[in-house]
């Protein structure tokens, strides 16, 4: 009996959390459209979220592209289809691995830092101070970060896609004896616009998720260092899970013809 009660309580708590997150995301979007705007904060966020994520996203993509080429070559060899390597690497990268891995890497980096920063501001009363200085914390803290992440993640994904394909190319040419020109031609010929476009849309959605979860958990941070630590963990875990769930849903919507 108590087991059922516990299950019920957890389920209700989950529903309440989903409700709160949805309201928070809605409020962020609402504030996005109404002044005042904070271009300086937005610029900072672009730099912190976009520019400084380039190395980690690039490295991840490069190694993933290389490994993908090796795997597809090995798999393709079983039915003499080694020639598919360039196009499958490209399609796999731009449709799936570029956005998902990019999103996850940014979740680890950005959701954590946003949650820690805002959480610290919360526990040291800086958010209260913002309010008394007539500045809305959602507008000043959440909106610039969410907007920046949503706009910049597609760019990161595009960069990741290119570097991932390059990784496949390097491995293909150096290790698997592909002809460089033929590899390039194969990559370009079989790639369709929507392969790339769908990945960029996913990137934007993941960016929104990462920044929103970072801000949400930061603003709800409990008291003290422990509260901030907890908020940071929650932000990373929840944004990672949401990214994977959203990825599945988006793939279903985009490609289940």
């Amino acid at each position: 009996m108590s087991l059922i009660a516990a299950l019920g309580r957890s389920f209700l708590a989950l529903l309440a959390t989903i409700g709160r997150v949805t309201l928070f995301a809605g409020a962020t979007v609402g504030h996005l459209l109404r002044p005042p705007f904070y271009p300086r904060e937005f610029g900072h966020a672009l730099l912190a979220i976009g520019y400084f994520s380039l190395p980690v996203v690039g490295l991840t993509a490069f190694f993933t592209g290389g490994a993908l080429a090796l795997q597809i070559y090995a798999g393709g060899a079983r039915f003499s289809a080694e020639a598919v390597v360039p196009s499958i690497v490209a399609i796999g990268m731009v449709r799936e691995l570029g956005p998902v891995l990019g999103g996850l890497m940014v979740a680890g980096r950005v959701a954590a830092s946003i949650a820690a920063e805002i959480g610290t501001m919360k526990v040291t009363e800086q958010i209260d101070a913002l309010v008394t200085l007539s500045t809305h914390p959602m507008k000043y803290l959440a909106v610039p970060r969410v907007l920046a992440a949503t706009l910049v993640l597609p760019v990161l994904v595009a960069v990741g896609d290119s570097i991932g394909i390059l990784g496949g190319f390097v491995v293909g040419v150096l290790r698997l004896d592909f002809n460089a020109a033929a590899y390039m031609r194969n990559t370009v010929d079989f790639l369709e616009f929507w392969d790339i476009g769908s990945g960029l849309v996913k990137g934007a959605v993941f960016g929104f998720i990462v920044a929103t979860m970072g801000c949400y958990h930061g603003m709800r941070s409990g008291r003290g260092a422990q509260g901030v630590g907890r908020a940071t963990t929650d932000a990373v875990v929840s944004s990672s899970v949401l990214i994977l769930a959203a990825n599945f849903l988006l793939t279903e919507v985009f490609f289940s013809a």
């Binding site: 040291t124 009363e125 800086q126 209260d128 101070a129 913002l130 309010v131 200085l133 007539s134």
Partner: protein, 248 residues
């Protein structure tokens, strides 16, 4: 005038305020005293709407504090937080000038900086600290920067949460004089929390003592010593024995 009527606030099972009723006349300096953890900081936050009371009414000049135009309401206030609450991503002068740099009559950067440096001077900090970050300052210096930020936009009502805690006696004297000066010369309504009885005597027109969730005593500072209230007497003389338990 700020009026509180029967304000209640509990955090979970812990009741902090249980029926606070208090009136603060305009242009006067009210000091709130009371034991550590009695809810003095919570009381100030209730007035500003940072903490939402469970019950009770709070009004400023007859206008209810909640609802209405929050921006216009908050624009009348300045607040020094107990932990200073400086923005650590900004330099000292940007902290002080934060309010001046936004809103309807926002100042350009050089002018705002000038005002900030002037306010810093009033709290005993030289222009060389203006470009430092809060993390590079001592606790007492941070407190004074918080004070400069609270008075920067010349608000009508200013709340000071323990303005002199952590300061040396001379600096505490400077801050006490500053608060007194702001009230008498600029007609500001000030509400100060302090544990320092010499500050109380230097700053206060009226004193209110918070104990056990209610205002235990309130009156002009001159009557504080002959109130006949055992709680107040124990508090101002710092005696360990009396009606207020030492372990709370």
């Amino acid at each position: 005038m700020i009026a509180l009527h029967d304000v209640h606030k509990a955090f979970g099972a812990k009741r902090v305020l249980s029926g606070v009723t208090l009136e603060m006349p305009k242009g006067e300096s009210m000091v709130i005293i009371g034991g550590s953890g009695t809810g003095k900081s919570v009381l100030l936050k209730c007035i500003l709407g940072l903490v939402v009371p469970d019950r009770g009414r709070i009004s400023v000049d007859g206008q209810p504090a909640e609802g209405g135009d929050r921006d216009a309401f908050l624009a009348r206030f300045g607040m020094l937080f107990q932990g200073a609450a400086l923005f650590d991503s900004m330099t000292v002068w940007e902290n002080v000038a934060f309010r001046l740099r936004r809103g309807r009559d926002k100042l350009p950067r050089p002018a705002a900086r000038e005002v900030a440096v002037e306010k810093l001077r009033r709290v005993g900090l030289g222009p060389e600290v203006a470009d430092l970050y809060p993390a590079e300052l001592s606790g007492g210096m941070q407190k004074r920067v918080g004070l400069a930020r609270a008075i920067a936009a010349d608000p009508e009502i200013i709340f000071f949460d323990e303005p002199t805690t952590g300061l040396d006696p001379i600096m505490a004297g400077v801050i006490n004089d500053l608060i007194r000066e702001i009230v008498t010369e600029m007609g500001v309504t000030a509400m100060t929390i302090t544990h320092d009885m010499s500050s109380v005597r230097a700053i206060a027109d009226r004193v209110a003592m918070l104990h056990d969730g209610v205002i235990q005593w309130t009156g002009p500072v001159g009557e504080m010593d002959r109130s006949g209230d055992p709680y107040l007497d124990q508090f101002i003389h710092g005696r360990a024995d009396g009606p207020i338990a030492a372990v709370r």
